[in-house]
Symmetry: C2
Subunit: 394 residues, 2 copies
C-alpha cells in the first residue's frame, strides 16, 4: 500500500528528533501504517534518517522479511534474546534489546519522538538509559494517515462495495419477512431477530473478503442508544438502524455506512425524523470541501436539526435525546480515526476520507441514522456510497 | 462474568498504592476484565478502596450503566468536557478531566499503579500534576486474569464447541474434495484453496456466535511458517495446518485449537513428524498439573523432539527448522495471555487455561502442529478438546 512517510521525516527533521519509535501491540494502526506490516504480537518500528527499521520475534521474521515495507528487518536472536532473558529476566532483556536496537539503527539516536500511546512501562526504563522520549500528543502519524493516497481510497472503496452487498442482504431479509399478529417479523417460519440479520450481514462480508468485529442491527428503543448493537425480534413500524463497518482482510482498510429501515408503515414522527436527518446529511455533504473545518460541517447538521426543533449537544450539552453524537469521523486502517467532523474538528484536506452520519435518538421513539462515507477532493468531495436512502421497505 | 478483584485490592494495599488506573483503548483486555465492559473508544477505569469507577463518553454512558460491572459510572459531561475542550483544547481538557476524576474517586488518591501499557502521552502530563504513576511491569491484572473462575472456563468451553464445529466443517471439505491431475484439490468443480476453507470455517464460527480476525489454513511451504495464514490451492499429500482461534461475541472469551491434515497419502516423513508431534503433545499433557512450571512442560516437548533428532530452539536458539516456537500460552479474553508455557514460564495453578501446541517446520517439508487447550485442575488437567487427532483424510 503506497503511503507517504516524507511528512514524518520532515516532522522529525523540523522538530530535531533523531527518530520515531513505536513499540506496541503489533495491531496498532500507526505501527501497521509505518511498517506496512501487522502481527498478533508486539514488534518494534523505528523510522530514522528516512529509513524504516523493524525488530520482530523469530516467529514473525519470515513473514516480516516478505511482507513488511521496511528497509531493514532484524529479529530478537540478533540481540541474543534467549541469553538476555536467561541472564536478566524478560522485562530487563526486552529493554536492553530495545536500547541496543535503537543505538544500532539511529546511528547514535538518543532523542526520539514516540506515539502518545507509547507504553509507560517501556518508556520509564528506556529513559533511565538516557534515551529521551517525547510523546506526540499531536498524533503526527495519525494525522499523516488521515490523508489517503489514491491506492488507500481504492481500498476503502472496495470495502464499501462489500458493505453495500451486505446492506442489500439485510434489506432483502426485511423485505422478504412477513409480519406476525404481534408485529414481530418472521422469515422462513422463524422470528427475524437483530442477531439473524447481523449474521446474514457478516456472512456476506466474510464471503467478500472482509473481517469485522461487530455490526449494529438495532430496532425500537435499542436504536435510541447509538452504540447498542441490538438484540431480539425486529418489529414492524419501528425504525431499524443497520450500521455496517467492515475491514478488508487483504488491505486492512475499513468502510462505514448506516441506513435506517422501517418494515411496513412508518409513524409520522419517524418519517419526519428520517426526512430531517436526510436534510441534515445533505447539508453536511454540501459543506464538505477542502478548507472547510470538520467543525463547520458539524455545525451544518446542528443548524438543520435545531431549526426543526430537535435538541443537539450544541444547543444543550446535557441532552440525552436528539442529535447526541458527532457528525462523523475519518475512516482508514481504523474505523474511527482523524480527521474529526465534530466540534473542534480542523480543516478538511483533499484525500481525507470521512463519514457523514447525522441521527436522532429518543428511547420513546427509537433512533434514525443515515451515514455516508466520502472522500474530500480538490474541489469538493466524492460520495463513495452508491446505496439508496430509503426508509420504508414493504 | 464473575471475576475476583480481591487479589488486585490486596496487591494495591500491600504495595501501598491508592488505586489502579487504566486509561486506554476501550478494547484493552485488562480494562475489559476490570470494568466488565468494552467499547470502541477510550474510557477510563479506576479501582480504589475496593470499588470500580468508570469514566465514559456520553455516547457510551447508557450502555455502561446497564452493562458494566462497576460501582460508579460517570461521564465526560460530569466534568464539563465541552467547556474544557473549548477553553483548553482536547488534550489539556482530557488531562484535567482525568485528574479531577481520580481526585473524586480515590478520596485524594495520588499514588497510582497503572498497567505497563499505560500511554506515555497521558502519563507525562498527569505526573506534572503531582500524580505518581508506577507502571506494573509484573502485569498484575494480566496475572490475575490467568486464573479463571468456573464461569470463565465455561465461556472458553463454549467457544471451543464452536471451534470444533468449524474444524469439522474444514475436515468435511477436505474429505469431499477430489484430487486433480496436478495434485490440487477440487470441490464442487472449483479449486479448493486455503481461502475457501478459511471462509467456510469463519462462516461456521459466525453462525455459532463467534467473531474472529484470522484463521490459518496453511499448506505445504506456507505451513512451514507458523504465523503464515496460508493462501492458494490446497494440494494432496502435503500437510495442511488448520489453526482456529475464535472469540465468543457474547462473553469475549477465546478458544484455540490446531489440527494438521493430509488429503490422500502422507509421505513417510510427514507421518513421522505427525507421530512425534503427537507424542510431544502427550508428554506435555502428562506433565500439566498444579505446581509444575510452564518451562517444565515446554521441556517435556523439547525432550521428545530432541530424542527423535529434531532441532529445537532449546538445542539451537538460531534454528529456523524443527520446533521453533513455545509449547503454549494462556487463553482468555486475549487469545495469547498468561501463563507462559515456554522457557521461563512460571508455576501452573488450578484455573489456568493453556494451549499445548507442539509443531515441526521446514520449508522443504512443510509444517505439522497439533494443539489442544486444557484447564489446570486441582490434581492435573482437563482437556477441553473433544476433537480427534488424525492426520490422513481419505
Amino acid at each position: 500500500m503506497s503511503r507517504d512517510l516524507s511528512r514524518l521525516d520532515s516532522f522529525l527533521a523540523d522538530a530535531g528528533f533523531d527518530g520515531y519509535l513505536v513499540a506496541d501491540d503489533g495491531e496498532d494502526s500507526d505501527q501497521r501504517y509505518l511498517a506496512g506490516f501487522d502481527a498478533p504480537d508486539e514488534f518494534v518500528t523505528l523510522r530514522a534518517d528516512g529509513e524504516t527499521h523493524l525488530l520482530v520475534s523469530g516467529l514473525e521474521y519470515g513473514r516480516a522479511t516478505k511482507e513488511a515495507e521496511a528497509d531493514h528487518v532484524v529479529r530478537y536472536s540478533d540481540y541474543d534474546w534467549a541469553e538476555k532473558v536467561e541472564q536478566f529476566g524478560r522485562e530487563e532483556a526486552r529493554i536492553r534489546m530495545l536500547a541496543e536496537f535503537v543505538a544500532d539503527c539511529g546511528a547514535g539516536a538518543s532523542d526520539l519522538s514516540v506515539p502518545a500511546s507509547f507504553p509507560l512501562g517501556t518508556a520509564d526504563p528506556l529513559r533511565k538509559r538516557d534515551l529521551s522520549l517525547t510523546p506526540e500528543t499531536d498524533e503526527v502519524v495519525t494525522e499523516i494517515r488521515a490523508t489517503k493516497t489514491d491506492e488507500e481510497v481504492a481500498a476503502i472503496r472496495e470495502a464499501q462495495r462489500a458493505n453495500e452487498s451486505a446492506m442489500a442482504r439485510a434489506e432483502e431479509l426485511l423485505r422478504a419477512a412477513s409480519v406476525a399478529e404481534d408485529g414481530t417479523l418472521r422469515h422462513e417460519g422463524e422470528v427475524l431477530t437483530s442477531e439473524r440479520v447481523a449474521e446474514a450481514i457478516e456472512v456476506t462480508l466474510l464471503r467478500e473478503g472482509c473481517a469485522l468485529d461487530e455490526t449494529i442491527v438495532a430496532c425500537g428503543s435499542d436504536a435510541a442508544d447509538p452504540h447498542d448493537r441490538g438484540s431480539g425480534p425486529l418489529v414492524a413500524g419501528e425504525a431499524i438502524i443497520v450500521d455496517i463497518f467492515p475491514r478488508s482482510k487483504a488491505t486492512g482498510y475499513h468502510s462505514d455506512m448506516t441506513r435506517t429501515f422501517v418494515k411496513g408503515e412508518a409513524s409520522a414522527e419517524i418519517e419526519s425524523w428520517f426526512d430531517v436527518t436526510d436534510e441534515a446529511r445533505e447539508a453536511a455533504l454540501a459543506a464538505v470541501e477542502p478548507g472547510v473545518t470538520g467543525a463547520a460541517v458539524h455545525d451544518a447538521v446542528c443548524d438543520v436539526y435545531e431549526s426543526a426543533g430537535h435538541p443537539t449537544l450544541r444547543s444543550d450539552h446535557t441532552t440525552e435525546t436528539g442529535f447526541i453524537h458527532s457528525t462523523g469521523h475519518g475512516v482508514g486502517l481504523d474505523v474511527h480515526e482523524l480527521p474529526r467532523v465534530s466540534p473542534g474538528g480542523g480543516e478538511l484536506k483533499p484525500g481525507h476520507v470521512i463519514t457523514i452520519e447525522p441521527g436522532l435518538y429518543d428511547p420513546a421513539v427509537g433512533g434514525v441514522r443515515i451515514e455516508d462515507i466520502v472522500v474530500v477532493t480538490d474541489d469538493g468531495h466524492e460520495n463513495l456510497v452508491e446505496y439508496p436512502v430509503e426508509l420504508v421497505v414493504e
